[in-house]
């Protein structure tokens, strides 16, 4: 009992200051419910804490604040500050590679519901293509959409592994590179999913061969890209305005272009190139609109 009391008293200060773990807190509380001596000690420590915390904060005089301010202004005006590096190397290369698995896990958690939905849609699409499109007119389309979605996931993993937390494209704009790349990955995945759903609908109605040729339909598709990027930028603005929509669009197409090209079997198709170029233009328009709206919100 004496030993138990002693060990409890060693923890009483931390118990009063709420610095113990849940288990430790419970153990001390149980002991206190049956030991009057320890309760007395605990009460004294609690009173001491309350007393000490009554020490009022003193104001920092305006004269001192002004002195600090003017000294800082003079310092900032006298010497131009060195620009921060565009890419802060916070992680070593072995650390980056070892974080690959963590990034994959995180992406899996973030994109898992979307991935399941995509696999279900892609399976349905493949079945429909096999049944209704034996000549394979829609197969390259299915491959393109699958490549686009995988490229988005790859973008996200690249952003998480190689993007340093806190890396800034521009210190004044405070554009977070990693968050922007991740946002671009999300926008790409969303767009690919929308295309897939439309692809299924078009294949079921037998119009798939005309999918990318109809100017109105193409315009609507590109508008989806613009809205997706604009929305991601607006969402970021609500969270503190740290993501640039325009940069997100550029990053997405910088990564997804080559990856889709590989997915298409290194085949350069004039139609797809035109589609990529149009999506880039519309993505940039959406991103710039999102940035302008964010800037207005900040102002």
């Amino acid at each position: 009992m004496i030993m138990l009391c002693q060990s409890v008293r060693d923890e009483l200060t931390h118990f009063v200051l709420a610095q113990l773990s849940a288990d430790e807190t419970l153990a001390v509380a149980r002991h206190l419910s049956a030991c009057a001596d320890c309760v007395r000690e605990e009460t004294e420590l609690r009173r001491t804490t309350l007393l000490v915390r009554q020490w009022q904060a003193a104001p920092l005089s305006e004269a001192v604040t002004e002195q600090i301010r003017s000294a800082a202004l003079a310092d900032l005006a006298a010497a131009p500050r060195p620009t921060r590096p565009r890419h802060r190397t916070g992680l070593s290369w072995p650390e980056r590679w070892s974080s690959l698995l963590d990034a994959a896990r995180l992406m899996q958690r973030q994109l898992a519901p979307g991935a399941f939905a995509f696999v279900a849609l892609a399976t349905l699409f493949a079945l429909i293509v096999l049944v209704r499109d034996p000549n394979g007119a829609a197969r390259s389309g299915a491959l393109f959409l699958g490549g686009m979605w995988c490229a988005s996931v790859a973008n996200g993993v690249l952003a998480l592994v190689f993007g340093d937390p806190g890396a800034r494209a521009n210190p004044r704009l405070r554009v977070d590179v990693r968050a922007t790349a991740l946002s671009a990955a999300w926008a790409g995945a969303a767009v690919a999913s929308v295309f897939l759903v439309v692809g299924i609908a078009k294949t079921l109605t037998g119009e798939y061969s005309e999918l990318m040729r109809l100017p109105l339909y193409s315009l609507a598709s590109f508008a989806i890209v613009a809205v997706a990027v604009c929305a991601s930028s607006r969402f970021a603005a609500r969270e503190g305005g740290r993501i640039s929509g325009a940069l997100a669009a550029l990053l997405y197409f910088a990564f997804s272009g080559p990856l889709v090209y590989i997915a298409l079997g290194f085949r350069l198709d004039g139609l797809w190139l035109m589609a990529e170029a149009c999506m880039l233009v519309f993505g940039l328009l959406g991103g710039l609109t999102g940035d302008a709206l964010s800037a207005r919100r900040r102002a």
């Binding site: 007393l51 003193a58 600090i68 131009p80």
Partner: protein, 194 residues
């Protein structure tokens, strides 16, 4: 609304590194008073605390380009402040100056520190409150220096043990033992007020 008002401390440091005076101003606005009180509660003297807070902001400004935004600004800034405090006490030891806590009266109710400190209470403050403030100040500022930092960070800055350990660069176990000893000393010192 001014975007600086919404920015985090770490984002403001980014701005300071880029030469933004407004970002520095915002940091000063947010942390000037808490840092001043951090010093005041340890050195017990307004003039010294003001000097130390000025030096802290000079250091913050100088070190801004090398500040890593991945770390927490407050932990970083208070580590600078704590190191300045340690230097201050080391200098004091060398000077062997007259202790501010040396009693000037027989009943030990008045010290040199009480006379020098010009953080006078508001005119409306009652006499007992004034006495209580002096008693708490005496109790805290007579703690050993290393215990004082832990007490100030925990009680007045609301830091958890792991945060204090990170700021002072000591193990959590050391934080616990320092706090345990400090609280017992404070309890004995403030016995008359309980």
């Amino acid at each position: 609304m001014n975007p600086q008002l919404m920015a985090t401390d770490e984002e403001l440091m980014d701005g300071v590194a880029g030469g933004e005076a407004l970002a520095f101003d915002q940091l000063l606005e947010r942390h000037g008073k808490p840092l001043f009180n951090f010093f005041l509660r340890q050195v017990g003297n307004v003039t010294e605390a003001e000097d130390l807070v000025q030096t802290t902001f000079v250091r913050i400004l100088q070190a801004a380009p090398s500040f890593d935004p991945a770390q927490k600004f407050t932990t970083w800034a208070y580590r600078i402040a704590h190191n300045l405090c340690v230097d201050f006490f080391r200098r004091q030891q060398h000077r062997r100056a007259v202790s501010l806590d040396e009693p000037l009266t027989d009943d030990e109710s008045l010290t040199l520190g009480d006379l020098m400190a010009d953080d006078a209470p508001a005119p409306g403050l009652r006499f007992e409150d004034n006495q209580l403030q002096a008693a708490i100040r005496r109790a805290v500022t007579t703690l050993p220096v290393e215990q004082r930092a832990v007490v100030v960070l925990c009680h007045f800055e609301g830091r958890s043990y792991p945060e204090i350990a990170e700021t002072l660069d000591i193990p959590v176990g050391t934080v616990k033992s320092r706090m345990h000893n400090a609280m017992r000393r404070l309890r004995d010192q403030l016995q008359d007020w309980m």
